[in-house]
Subunit: 456 residues, 2 copies
Amino acid sequence: MVIGGDAAGMSAASQARRLKSPQELEIVAFERGNFTSFSACGIPYWVGGDVAERDDLIARTPEEHRERSIDLRMRTEVVEIDARERRVRARDLASGAEEWTAYDKLVIATGARPLRPDLPGIDALGVHGVQTLDDGQALLDTLTGTPGRRAVVIGAGYIGVEMAEALIGRGYEVTVVNRGKEPMSTLDPDMGRLVREAMTGMGITMVNDAEVTKILTADDGRARAVATEDREFPADVVVLGIGVRPETALARAAGLPLGEHGGLLTDLAMRVRGPVADGAIWAGGDCVEVLDLVSGRERHIALGTHANKHGQIIGSNVGGGYATFPGVVGTAVSKVCDLEIARTGLREKDARAAGLQYAAVTIESTSRAGYYPGAALMTVKMLAERRTGRLLGVQIVGREGAAKRVDVAAVALTARMTVEQMTALDLGYAPPFSPVWDPVLVAARKAVSAVRAGGA
Amino acid sequence: MVIGGDAAGMSAASQARRLKSPQELEIVAFERGNFTSFSACGIPYWVGGDVAERDDLIARTPEEHRERSIDLRMRTEVVEIDARERRVRARDLASGAEEWTAYDKLVIATGARPLRPDLPGIDALGVHGVQTLDDGQALLDTLTGTPGRRAVVIGAGYIGVEMAEALIGRGYEVTVVNRGKEPMSTLDPDMGRLVREAMTGMGITMVNDAEVTKILTADDGRARAVATEDREFPADVVVLGIGVRPETALARAAGLPLGEHGGLLTDLAMRVRGPVADGAIWAGGDCVEVLDLVSGRERHIALGTHANKHGQIIGSNVGGGYATFPGVVGTAVSKVCDLEIARTGLREKDARAAGLQYAAVTIESTSRAGYYPGAALMTVKMLAERRTGRLLGVQIVGREGAAKRVDVAAVALTARMTVEQMTALDLGYAPPFSPVWDPVLVAARKAVSAVRAGGA
């Protein structure tokens, strides 16, 4: 039995079905919404017009899942898990009827819920989250139905900056209001500054260090401005891009163990820990915490690629195979127009919180040989542990070719390489693709010197 | 003392100078040509017109080196190394005068020489190699001075395909005559076939399985056609792109140890092995063989990025520091127009030659989420060792975003990861940059299945 019909849940169902026939394994899945297996990460690009159709974001429809002999119950919300009796109570959202259904093995894939600050005016017309396809459609309806061209985005993380791009693309005057000192708090502030400068250069108004106090509404009930303590930003549309939290109310009520970020805690096979779950409950995707392999601590990361991996692993284990999820290194890539943003591993504050002492270096290099047309500047920041020289993290901000370069660091982190080892990495070189020293190697060389200079 | 003024030699000189002042270390460098520290890899792009000026390819001029207190002697060819007496005999190419000069430490960085088959007509006007800047200028002179628009490229390796692109870019009808079954013999033939198909689609005439027997000349001494056993290909210009061999005649005559590919053999600090060198001779760049970390055997790879690393390491060691070169995994990237070609690790025939049993899989995926504009197909081939599942090699052919993805595999090879470990890699995901499963991960998943299916 699967709770949640998106990436983790339906990947688990599909993988289990691959391993076990309907005669061997019955699969029931509950989804409270209208869609299955859709790409939430794609919503900004649909809103921005890069992706033409909502359905382009749907990897597999309910019908396609049912054709694979998955008993999928749409618009049906699980409202209680009874782990002792191994059953769940589900409500048909159309009729309101509730029913208990028994399981042998349960997969919790309830995802995340967007943060929605408790502000005056937050429920006004024209204020939109962008978590579900329904959210995206509602926002698009507002954009096409409203003549004004001023948009305010609250939050400057991934969702916020991607929505800023989407709205710029639609011809809006965009203001991003951000609580932090710089946008992209997943980067160190010195790298976030580069993002701010680039976004400002794109004509986006960046307001940092600003707490939204309320959303002002017009007489017709529509949002008309976003207010901070000392300013007002007129808005014909307001987009919330503040981030998400694990959706674990059900799990909490059932007595399952949650971590410090509110996510479910699992073992390496993605089984929920502890005596209540008793080895019969798995969990994956945005509702779980994952082990950060660099800091050795649990983190919450809502990202489709992890959800898909979790689903694959859960499905293998539930289907009688064997697979484990070793953890993450915290890789994330994003873009705002032609600015690429990437990070993996620890920021300076993460390293400090983990008790690690480190050297941090920053270099500028280019995506291609300097003499090759289109060579674009990129800035690479690298953290390495003092004494051992172990790579701790990399952040990259640049144009074409910047984002996916972080993958090299992601693999190096996984392999627990030192920056000295990294300087010898045999990375692809040809003038259209890289300088003779790839930017990641240039940063590694500087990090080696910095670690040495840091002494014992 | 340094023999050879290009990447390895001058990097070594520069790095040693960084560590030791002119009072502490005298540095003499001999270069027989007219240039120092130039990017041979950039020549195709200069010939093709992407790079405007020859001097764009020069990283550092003789004058710039001299400003750093390096006693650089241009147009001066070392004609003998006397390792026992620790001295070299050098000839001033202008005057013909020869002189012995003593050294305490010698760096051999004599590079590689292009293969030039002993064919009738090979020395005709209009037949060009592309190894040096002088070669590039001579070719450009032919291109601008000759009215015809038919070019024949002999060889379909990196140089050959890059020159095909350059000549297409200049409006030539291009024929590539290649000895192998498919172009790019650094790939397996099934991947080379994709390159052939794409090049044919670009309007390049690909002639495979063909041995050039002679170059036919016109009455004015200019090349007019390239002949194979059974055909003739009219040519207004002929470009040789057959590959290179280590330039080690001097070293051989001095009694220094050469490997099976004709390159100098060094230890991990890049010191030439054996009693003749006696610990006083270093070598790096295109004239040495390097350890292939995957097969455990020595290889010869002429590539600027290795030469720069070698120089850096030699310079550190000669300058009283300490650095080593652990070896390579054989990464190489290239392109023909918008087709990107990448490889790292072992091909099938390399694996067999190394005594390794393996599973090979091939997958197709896209560079971005399938629904995101510009998502381009790429084909990824992956080899993994039977039983252990250790990654052995990756080859990628595709469009935008294909080439540098091979870096992930290069790091994984260096870390001796298994394909199972690779399936969990935390690679950057966002719709503009990758499908939710990166193509490299899709290949790794299939390789896991193939290794399992292969049994014990």
